[in-house]
Assembly symmetry: C2
Homo-oligomer: 335 residues x 2
DNA sequence: CATCAACATTTGATCGATCAAATCCAATCA
DNA sequence: TGATTGGATTTGATCGATCAAATGTTGATG
């Protein structure tokens, strides 16, 4: 087994010094072209790869980004986050970052984990998901000058202006719900109900607002229940009894419950279940969201943003969801 | 902002040397109790935490475990892997490991990533999922003396004995299918069909075998289709037409398709969908699987195995799945 | 031809831990 | 008393990179 190549071993081979090799990698413009080529050849020949721990010890940069895995969602809806984690992993790799996972029982535990990881492992940044009212995590990170971005808007009532200064990416659920409503109207439905959650959840309220945007004064058939298939089924029955002929739902769980009462249903998040049963649903562009998150972090960290990532310098990005229309229900098509 | 505490700063405060502080942390028995207490007090007072990069540079151990995120499953079934990732993250933390994610387009890409991560980041071990026939990854890792464990048996036809020497954890699908079949028989069904995949997939064949184990010569109603809700629905119709009154399915996707034809269905993997619609399903003990994986890695690495992890010294663990019986179908209960 | 600036390259120190070997110290024994 | 032993503690070197400052080289300029 060959010895591990180091800066020094490469330097020796190229007939230069450590630092020149280092410069070829980190500041090539400082090195004369001929030397550069000679060093590059030596790097190639030895298969040299920089050792991250050594670099980290000196620079205090680990190129690692932390992500807390949220406790598993009980239902169907958790899968967007999983898709997001996938997309994040790939996009982080494009920018040279690696994703480090950790878990915590609650927000305070997550904050304690930040503290620990920053001090012991030099994590460069964090990605937060599932932002909510009164989120202490963002405050802590801002106060400590840590780079981070959230997937999800800051949902606070705007009391503290600092909440809006951090980087975030979110999907415009209002637009999505509006598109869903319009789609059903285009199919000929006139009495379109909304099946969502009780007021108070940021995302839920947004979606309801999108439905109202389209229907205006006709937006009267409104049910608010906790998330779940059974609740969706029951509430759908009530809405249909009240005269609704089509339903916009705040989640695929609710939509799945509603789906066997009528196929004129649109769900939210385009989970695997929706695809499986042929349910139309509003898809979140998680891939794009992840790309924006990584781009924001790279900018915040002063690192180059690779061309594959979005180059908008915005600190906030609100993405447009996409309505996935499926016109052939699969599993519930009783003969 | 206080300066970062280091071994030296703690040592100074405690009136000892660096090395003694290091010993208190890594080999306390070498230090006289009084000194030990003094040092511990200094550690406490300064909030000292060891810097992983510095340690890693010297010891060549990162305490990081790599995991490749598989490309997203198209359907419902991917969620077991996600649950496994969660469980793995938590159990890894118990043993002092962190989980580092990476992605790769295929097995060869994964191997290239191993190579890279080992050399640059000193990853201590890897966890592999979705093992399959002719898996080159395990061979490579064995050849390079890298610690790893797989979630999933080596499914090779036993040509190379090395395949069986590595650490693996799996769930006994055969047992699970048998339990499902028995459950349906106990409910009074006599003609129980199996709805699975074409022969050739390790896990699928196991599950079919479990069904045969229970029914013996009565195991005749057998359909093999590719995975999917629609396929499940269609195949279920054929099986029912052929006289079946109940169905054991190889996946929740298939089971969901079958579910509206008859509620006498048992699925596999107990995905969120199954819970959502009230479908009985065979649950994989992912939590236990993850704990075993971490315990195996810790042993392989010569690290202490924390008491919360299983202490069996086995290199192979076959876990028993659990049948989750749900007797009230939710969404498909047509009035 | 000497001087100076600008560029190119090298040298020594450093990040914070561990390893290996040296030193210190108290207790034991000839 | 002095040598010996074993445990406790300290010292110096090291891992592999980067930083900061010093040195070396080149070309332009008066």
């Amino acid at each position: 087994m060959a010895e591990r190549a180091t800066l020094s071993s490469v330097a020796e081979r190229a007939g230069t010094s450590r630092q020149t090799v280092s410069n070829v990698l980190n500041a090539p413009e400082r090195v004369r072209p001929e030397t550069r080529d000679r060093v590059r050849a030596a790097i190639e020949a030895t298969g040299y790869r920089p050792h991250v721990a050594a670099r980290q010890l000196r620079t205090r940069r680990s190129m690692n980004v932390g992500l807390r895995l949220m406790p598993l969602q009980d239902g169907i809806n958790g899968s967007i986050l999983d898709a997001f984690v996938h997309a994040l992993t790939e996009n982080a790799a494009h920018a040279g970052y690696r994703l480090v996972l950790f878990s915590a029982p609650d927000d305070d535990g997550e904050i304690a984990a930040y503290d620990e990881l920053l001090e012991t492992a030099d994590l460069d940044a964090f990605v937060l998901t599932s932002t909510h009212h009164g989120d202490r995590r963002t405050r802590w990170l801002l106060d400590h000058g840590v780079a981070f971005a959230t997937f999800g808007r800051p949902w606070s009532a705007g009391t503290d202006p600092r909440d809006s200064v951090h980087h975030w990416v979110d999907v415009d659920g209002r637009l999505g719900a509006a598109a869903a409503t319009r789609h059903l109207r285009d199919l000929g439905h006139e009495r379109i109900g909304f099946l969502g959650w009780p007021a108070g959840s940021g995302a839920g309220d947004e979606r309801r607002a999108g439905w109202r945007d389209v229907l205006g004064a006709a937006a009267v058939l409104d049910e608010a229940v906790t998330d779940g298939v059974r609740q969706g089924s029951d509430a759908a029955a009530r809405l249909l009894a009240a005269g609704a002929t089509a339903l916009v739902c705040a989640s695929d769980s609710l939509a799945l419950g509603a789906f066997h009462r009528t196929t004129a249903v649109v769900g939210f998040d385009d989970t695997p279940v929706a695809a499986a049963v042929g349910l139309s649903s509003v898809a979140q562009p998680v891939e794009a969201a992840a790309a924006h998150v990584v781009a924001m972090l790279a900018r915040a960290l002063g690192d180059p943003v690779p061309p594959v990532l979005p180059s908008t310098p915005d600190r906030h990005v609100l993405l447009e969801p996409r309505l996935v229309v499926r016109d052939e229900p699969v599993s519930l098509a009783h003969p």
